[in-house]
């Protein structure tokens, strides 16, 4: 019915937008084929769920490495490869090499793209030179390079079809997020919240690499692409200058709100969903105001970029709780009614469920019981503070003051969950969430801004919550009620992306390097294997030649490599204590390998 409408009402337009229809339909079709993995999060809804079930709860204990591949790079390996047809496309951290591997030939390299980038981009990447992966559309592979170049490569040959520079590393602007293809455009964000970079979402035409629109996280309405009457927050129009009115002077120009996470898309509503990161600087005293629209869930029109609705989760952030984590789209029943939902596990420790059409807030609960910077989220629609966190004064780094060490704040700056993405299984209607279980002492102080230099303004030290020795949990979460269903403790933060499958198995990786498989219903561990290095990548799966494969990148690093690679110290240890924590460095060293598992072929 929809296709008919398109043809009859938009016949002429369709001639000019044939490219759009083709790319959108092609990708939608491809992402429905469980044998392939054609986009970073498996599908537009970002569920990281596969219909493949050759591997199931009964036989997963028999899987073993089937083949492996080294990227040649020893930095933090985030993201996952794509599989399109018989070819696997694999990316690497800086220098961001792209490999096309022949699945018919044990991963023989069909082509390799090695960008030449100025190494001076490296020191302006706050948290290792990671890259979160590739996208595909219309015969092209898209790579978002560290130096902010977006390049389209011919999927068959690796030749550059077009290339465009999105930002300026000399100002601290860098590229780490994967590009996303929705309709006729490829979307990228920008990194640099620790360098005062004002965040944006750029939309480029697939065909020719021209910039179609760019929506900023802060600034006048013409920059943020907000309509004062039509853009709503929790059902109410946001009004004129909703961003700039919440900053002092020109501070919004170096305001942060960067966009380096995962993006999802609802083709029926024509909306793109993503989150914006922390406001700059980490010292809240230097930026009075709510700092909109940092820490915000955005719903933007895919064609024009206009914001349909926004919701700021952590106004006037005092803890670096970036809002960039994935927005998982599901259709579930709440109070007996079918709802179109968006579920988001924020750095701030709250799991939010919203109506993705209207931005109505339905559920907001802690997904780590130890979260203590807020007691909850105000759910009283009549209250002027509706939707705002109920902050605990003692955990306010600003209330405690500059040069005062605020102690025991949970979660730590790296959040109850960082970028590592969760998965959703329609079989169990549960989310599978890799979490951090870490608290911090945080002390803000005055800093000065200079372009291309870190603009942080706080000291922090991190440790597990008092009474616990585990620094991570892998949990199952019910997004309809906001409850933890089961929780598997892990010694270190779980920093990998999860994968849920129709075989009833959920996969994730640990910072020591284990790939683990657990029962989706109970969390019982069914299999584990120690890969060559700690895992911060995302598990994916595909089928080839009648066999199901599960693949994971190992290569420790990223922000996990900072906070945890050297071990953490307990506040209860005396000065100069020897021992302290079992350091991650006792378990793993650098690496850069893809390990691909399968059931034995007999």
């Amino acid at each position: 019915m929809r296709k008919l409408l398109l043809a009859s009402c938009f016949g002429v337009a369709a001639l000019f937008t044939a490219g759009y229809a083709a790319a959108n339909d092609e990708l939608a079709k491809l992402s429905a084929d469980p044998n392939q993995w054609v986009m970073p999060a498996a599908n537009f809804a970002n569920t990281r769920y596969s219909e493949l079930k050759q591997i199931n709860t009964e036989n997963v204990h028999k899987i073993a490495p089937a083949w492996t591949f080294s990227t040649g790079v020893l930095r933090g390996h985030e993201g996952a490869p794509l599989v399109i047809g018989d070819v696997m496309y694999l990316h690497a951290p800086f220098p961001n090499t792209v490999f096309a591997l022949d699945l018919n030939n044990d991963g023989k390299i069909l082509w390799k793209y090695e960008p030449k980038q100025d190494p001076n981009v490296i020191p302006v990447m706050c948290c290792d030179t990671v890259n979160r992966g590739l996208s595909y559309a219309d015969g092209k592979i898209f790579l978002h390079q560290a130096d902010t170049t977006l390049v389209a490569l011919d999927a068959k040959t690796g030749a550059v079809v077009w290339s465009v520079k999105d930002g300026d590393p000399s100002k601290g602007e860098t590229g780490t997020d994967a590009p996303y293809v929705f309709k006729d455009k490829v979307f990228i964000g920008v990194s640099g919240g620790e360098f005062g970079v004002r965040g944006w979402l750029s939309a480029y035409n697939i065909k020719d690499g021209k910039l179609a629109w760019r929506g900023y996280s802060e600034g006048p309405d013409s920059d943020t692409l907000i309509d004062p009457e039509k853009t709503t927050a929790l059902g109410k129009p946001v009004g004129k200058d909703s961003s700039t009115s919440t900053w002092q002077g020109d501070q919004w120009k170096i305001g942060g709100g960067d966009t380096w996470g995962w993006y999802s898309f609802d083709p029926e509503l024509n909306l793109i969903y993503y989150g914006s990161g922390n406001p700059s600087t980490w010292n809240p005293k230097q930026r009075p105001g709510d700092n909109k629209w940092s820490m915000t869930i955005w719903a933007r029109d895919a064609d024009t970029g206009k914001a349909k609705w926004v919701y700021q989760m952590t106004p006037h952030d005092e803890w670096d709780y970036d809002g960039v984590n994935e927005m998982i789209l599901t259709d579930q029943k709440i109070d007996g009614q079918d709802r179109k939902l968006l579920t988001h596990f924020d750095r701030n420790g709250f799991g939010y469920t919203l109506d993705r059409a209207t931005g109505e807030l339905l559920v907001a609960q802690k997904f780590d019981p130890k979260v203590n910077w807020a007691t909850g989220i105000n759910m009283d629609k009549a209250s002027p503070d509706y939707g705002k966190p109920i902050r605990v004064k003692a955990m306010s780094t600003e209330a405690n003051g500059e040069d005062v060490n605020s102690k025991g704040i949970c979660p730590a700056a790296l959040g109850s969950k960082d970028e590592q993405p969760a998965a959703y299984s329609p079989q169990t209607e549960l989310f599978y969430v890799p979490t951090n279980h870490v608290c911090m002492d945080y002390e803000p102080f005055k800093v000065s801004y200079s372009a291309g230099q870190p603009y942080v303004g706080a000291t922090l030290s991190m440790y597990p919550p008092s009474g616990d020795s585990n620094m991570g949990n892998f949990i199952a979460w019910d997004g309809k009620t906001g409850k933890i269903v089961w929780s598997d403790p892990e010694q270190f933060s779980v920093w990998s992306g999860a994968l849920a499958t129709a075989g009833g198995v959920v996969f994730y990786g640990t910072l020591e390097g284990y790939l683990k498989a657990v029962d989706a219903k109970t969390g019982k561990e069914l299999y584990k294997f120690k890969t060559p290095s700690g895992i911060i990548g995302n598990v994916m799966t595909y089928e080839h030649g009648g066999r199901q494969y599960v693949a994971i990148l190992s290569g420790v690093g990223g922000w996990a490599g900072i906070g945890l690679a050297a071990g953490l110290n307990k506040p209860t240890d005396g000065l100069g204590a020897v021992g302290g924590y079992a350091a991650l460095s006792n378990y793993t060293a650098l690496g850069g390998t893809l390990t691909v598992f399968a059931l034995p072929s007999d």
């Binding site: 020893l74 190494p119 001076n120 020191p123 922090l460 690679a565 110290n569 302290g580």
Partner: protein, 175 residues
């Protein structure tokens, strides 16, 4: 003052045997012997150093260095100088690095380009958040490198000298 024979002999041997540069790269005896008018302690060679009292109270600069290091340097070099997966543990590096060499690297940056495993440190010369506190950061890391200060925030510290506050405001500039 008479120079005793063994020392004379040593001096003679060193002058001919060892290049002066190599000697200058090693930090000397870290014992604090003199405090300047900004409250910073110096060792006998005149280089900044730490002073820890018997009860563990650290001097102001060591404490300040803990904070400033864990804000400006932690993103690459890890907490408390313990290193990360992509930058060395400075608590270790300072065992064999002099004040002059440390200063030079922070000011100018450093590149080790290893064909895909490049390590690049930026120049901090224009970054007040580092340069205004460079002595503090050095003193803190020096204390970490000798084991005088362990992981974590020092429990007790001497108060901030007034002269330090004045110099800090001057260096950092207006808000």
């Amino acid at each position: 003052m008479t120079i005793s024979k063994p020392i004379l002999g040593l001096g003679f041997a060193l002058a001919f045997a060892a290049p002066v540069v190599a000697l200058a790269d090693m930090p000397g005896d870290p014992t604090a012997v003199k405090q300047d008018d900004q409250g910073l302690w110096h060792d006998k060679d005149g280089d900044p150093t730490y002073k820890i009292e018997a009860d563990g109270t650290v001097d102001w600069y060591t404490f300040s260095g803990f904070r400033r290091y864990n804000a400006a340097c932690i993103v690459c070099h890890g907490p408390d100088g313990a290193g990360s997966s992509y930058a060395p543990a400075l608590a270790n590096s300072l065992k064999t690095m002099s004040y002059a060499e440390f200063f030079g690297i922070v000011v100018s940056g450093r590149k080790d380009l290893l064909n895909g495993n490049d390590l690049v440190m930026p120049a901090f010369a224009d970054n007040k958040n580092a340069m205004c506190y460079l002595n503090d950061i050095y003193v803190y890391l020096r204390a970490r490198s000798t084991g005088a200060v362990g992981r974590g925030r020092p429990d007790k510290h001497a108060p901030k000298p007034q002269a330090f506050a004045t110099a800090e405001d001057k260096c950092m500039g207006p808000d």
